[in-house]
């Protein structure tokens, strides 16, 4: 009798995959031990699937499913449409669809170079103003030395000394003053070439 007990794997198959053969059915009805094993396994499997189903259903109530469905369909609505091309320079409509012949990597390099140039021009101009004590900058330095005598007497303060001794607000004011100066006019043509968000509907 013991030799004919159903192996574990066969019990799993019976619970999940296959129907029991006539012989197996006969054995299960005659062998309380195998039947109890089968019932216990089936109960465990049901418990696992009930738990998983309940957790998923609680996490995805009908409203969430409806929102998800709407998002899927909205996504498909846009699928297959060509991307919008923004005219550059501003005001010049592209005569034909613009197909980029540059690789993304070279576009990134060009973008980084332009950004570096702009930052360099501003920073260079700003540093230049302080190093050579132009009239506007001199005024700031004199004011600071009068208020804070710890700055070296009779010497021209470096940008590090100034930034270390003034507050953030004052520093930002000085930045604005530097940007408002005619030096920033050099960037004007580049600014005019660039389309603005409100130009591009």
């Amino acid at each position: 009798m013991k030799a004919s007990h159903l192996p574990d794997d066969r019990l799993i198959e019976l619970c999940m995959l296959d129907a029991a053969s006539a012989t197996e059915q006969h054995h299960l009805s005659a062998c309380a031990r195998c039947d109890a094993r089968r019932v216990r396994l089936q109960r465990l499997l049901d418990e696992v699937s009930d738990t998983a189903t309940a957790a998923a259903d609680a996490a995805f109530p009908p409203e969430r499913l409806a929102r998800q469905q709407a998002r899927i369909l909205a996504h498909l609505q846009h699928e297959g449409r060509p991307a919008r091309v923004i005219a550059f320079p501003a005001g010049q409509a592209p005569h034909e669809p613009m197909v980029s012949r540059t690789r993304p990597r070279s576009r990134w390099i060009a973008g980084a170079a332009v950004a570096g140039l702009v930052v360099g021009v501003i920073a260079g101009r700003f540093g230049h103003d302080y190093t050579f004590a132009r009239p506007g900058a001199a005024r700031v330095i004199v004011a600071r030395t009068a208020e804070q005598p710890e700055l070296r007497d009779g010497s021209i303060a470096t940008i590090q000394e100034i930034t270390a001794s003034i507050s953030d607000d004052e520093f930002l004011n000085q930045l604005e003053m530097a940007i408002d100066e005619p030096a920033a006019a050099a960037l004007q043509p580049l600014d005019e070439l660039t389309p603005r968000a409100w130009d591009v509907r």
């Binding site: 998983a52 309940a54 957790a55 995805f60 998800q68 469905q69």
Partner: protein, 204 residues
């Protein structure tokens, strides 16, 4: 739709018929009509899809994303759907791949972030019924956590096979088609998964 004289194929499920119809509409350029029909297919498969994805990922947002991804991919590639396969099998394969991708990206993401709270993504599930006493509810919740952790502790392949066979109710032949494994291998993974679950969960 099928060649005359071929051996009689198994009747297509309603979802497979619908998918074949959508494929036909897309092929003939009627995308709007195809999208409309696709909404019906999404509604029919959605509940099953979120159950699989949530069991697999244990995170509402990730499961949501995986299911959306899978449905969008299915529509985008509907012309490559083979009508001789049940739609559910094809869809489940795409869904499981979406889940695997998300799991991979989540583990990459977790390598760089510190979790803010351990309760952030706790499953909101409480399978307890309202009629239960607070004590019973607590026990149910603890048992649910044990089960969830046990399934979670299965190796990835065993969990996939178990989820597909048991929760998605697919046959081992369908799972073998979906995962590209032999049916014997699928059975071996399934047996190992269940043996491990029994070891972890059975109370004597």
């Amino acid at each position: 739709m099928t060649a005359a004289g071929a051996p009689a194929p198994a009747p297509l499920s309603r979802d497979s018929q619908l998918a074949a119809e959508i494929k036909g509409l897309v092929t003939s350029g009627e995308r709007d009509a195809a999208r409309e029909r696709y909404g019906e297919l999404v509604a029919r498969q959605q509940r099953r899809a979120v159950r699989i994805a949530y069991t697999y990922l244990r995170d509402v947002h990730d499961a949501d994303e995986a299911v959306q991804d899978a449905f969008v991919k299915v529509f985008t590639h509907i012309t490559s759907y083979r009508e001789d396969l049940p739609f559910e099998v094809w869809f489940t394969r795409i869904l499981v791949n979406a889940c695997l991708d998300l799991r991979k990206s989540r583990s990459r993401r977790l390598r760089w972030t510190v979790p803010m709270s351990s309760t952030g993504d706790m499953p909101p599930a409480d399978p307890a019924t309202p009629e239960q006493t607070p004590e019973q509810r607590l026990v149910s919740r603890e048992r649910a956590n044990e089960i969830t952790e046990a399934v979670e502790s299965l190796p990835a392949r065993q969990r996939t096979v178990f989820t597909m066979c048991h929760l998605a109710e697919q046959t081992t032949a369908e799972v073998s088609q979906a995962l590209g494994l032999s049916e014997a291998t699928v059975r071996v993974h399934l047996f190992r998964a269940i043996r491990k679950l029994r070891r972890l969960l059975e109370r004597d």
